[in-house]
Symmetry: C2
Amino acid sequence: MTKYQKIANIDYKKELESAAKSMILVHEPDILIKMVLRRIVQKVQVNHATILLQHRDKDAYLIRVSHKHPGVKMFTGFARIDKDNPLIRFFTQHQDKQIFDDGALVYEELKKTLEKNIKPELKQLIAQVIEQMEVLEAIVCIPSYFRADLLGMLLLGKKNNGKKFNKQELNFFLALSSEVAMAMRNAQLFKALELELDKEHRLFMNTTIALAAAIEAKDRYTHGHTARVTDLSLEIAKKLIKKRYKALGPKFLQDLHIASLLHDIGKIGIPENILNKEGPLDDKEKKRMEEHPLVGVNILQFINELADCLAGVKYHHERYDGNGYPEGLKGDQIPLIAAIIAVADTFDAMTTERPYRRVLNKDDAVQEIMSLSGKQFDPQVTAVFFQLYQEGRI
Amino acid sequence: MTKYQKIANIDYKKELESAAKSMILVHEPDILIKMVLRRIVQKVQVNHATILLQHRDKDAYLIRVSHKHPGVKMFTGFARIDKDNPLIRFFTQHQDKQIFDDGALVYEELKKTLEKNIKPELKQLIAQVIEQMEVLEAIVCIPSYFRADLLGMLLLGKKNNGKKFNKQELNFFLALSSEVAMAMRNAQLFKALELELDKEHRLFMNTTIALAAAIEAKDRYTHGHTARVTDLSLEIAKKLIKKRYKALGPKFLQDLHIASLLHDIGKIGIPENILNKEGPLDDKEKKRMEEHPLVGVNILQFINELADCLAGVKYHHERYDGNGYPEGLKGDQIPLIAAIIAVADTFDAMTTERPYRRVLNKDDAVQEIMSLSGKQFDPQVTAVFFQLYQEGRI
């Protein structure tokens, strides 16, 4: 064993291990493929490296080309070739040991096979493959399979030093190509799952928004109320988190978002004649009206995933001084999620035309909210609310 | 290079490649780890192989032990060791080249270091590590890192032939351990994403069910109506798919599920006095009532993800003979999703007490539905409906 061989051996192993390491946890197909191509071109000093990757629908292969040296004319970015392309057909239909033994297809070797005594159809296919390799300026094609499935292919241009690829290099590429295709498939699956999750989340949020808006539409005085309360609640919460509740993360914001969308859901059961009454409510009507937080909880209580939102629905009419409903909670007993909605809800009611209550302009409404700080509202919430006002964000 | 070395070399590469290949696309952590452990014990003939894998919260490592030979006393299944365990601390705090050069920790070598002149704290830690290895019956520990993060560790028992592990074997395990930890992390991330998707889907379905039920609760005659219509619609659809619409897959069922939950959502805007009127509706009231499919569409129309459900909401009061509303569609013009809901909806209305309509028993209601086949209802839907009845599933 010469010293050169030994070093080459170690490089090969290290390269493969390090490539695999960096690939598996990259779940962005585009970044992954760029990374791999850059690595190949840098380490092996080839003119270009191109990856063909099976499309999810399996009807085509996507082409991705490395940054290549000036003077080489090749398409960049993603393009696609059909699964009927001779190059693909060759690897899916003719895994013929006669033609290429270890799986790598070498341009020079392939040309020689045309002289051999092989079946005419195969000869024709090989001629087409050679043509494709010329179009793609590929000296070597290395397929990678998962079981019988052709996941992808690595195509390499000339070596910069003009030499042929040796056996060891071909073996390395064979192993690498296989890893790349698997990592790419993995990344694609990951990406698909993430997109599905996004879609499902949008579906949930949008449906909840639509239904909340529909329920609210019954009450002709509150058009747009839910959306405005939700926006303001989230503004307050973001500032609170920044200022003093760093531990409250995205989960709190998500819960608050849902809770403020659904805070008045319990009004669904209140007859229109109470909701829209053009005069003060009598005791019975008032009692009915004040049931809406608990009716809301009744509607949502069996949805486990909403457990942390319920406090916002249930307690958004509690008062800091203990004079609210439904339980008369006081001060810190009132969950923060509800204390935030309470401020946003009241501010929006004050600035919207309602029966038997004059509409306040923004400045007056803020002043009234602040005068109720420590009485009706949690002072730490009103403090943040006032800052937002001063910053012109309310 | 002797022949033996060459063969061993090829085995090593092939093993690693084949291990990597089978690992990346296995996204079930439990299956993955079993697979790897079985492979190690079979190929390398060791007494046992144990994997420590960093927990998602990074505060502990989970222990997974291979099927071991009888006589070895070890805990099986998942157990956990704290991140303060000396074994973990050694690899996270002392990546000391003096102690182990290539990353593998060999029990015999480690014992020798205790004789060396090293810092007392390190000596104490090494003594604790040795103790841990004895508890775990480990001859070798092989850590695997992602950047500076200790993802996991491979622990191997004695070789069955009693020999020491050679350098080449240690190198193989080092590479393998790294691959295993990455694949496991990948699988864990995948699993976490799948669980999140499940959760988000449950959240959407349950919230939609709760809100639909709440909207329906306004109409005291229809308690449970939505749930029953949804169940029956799905039963009919599954049978239809089995019989003649094999192309309609899970997507159709999912759309139908949502559409039947929301089919009466437009009733949200109809005043209670019309919904609950104890006599026949006058023309104006009837007109108002018949607007509910279009009101439903108005509520949901901007939710892109629900686009394929809308036809069910919009057309569930169309009739096969063209005398329905809102558009008077006829026969095959009526989307299948709506034709299914129409049958389920009417059947449930017939068998439930309503003002000014006698309640029918199940047999009479089925008979009436069948007598309206081809007039009010799509014959292919009623045919399946009747089969379900005959099978006792209605």
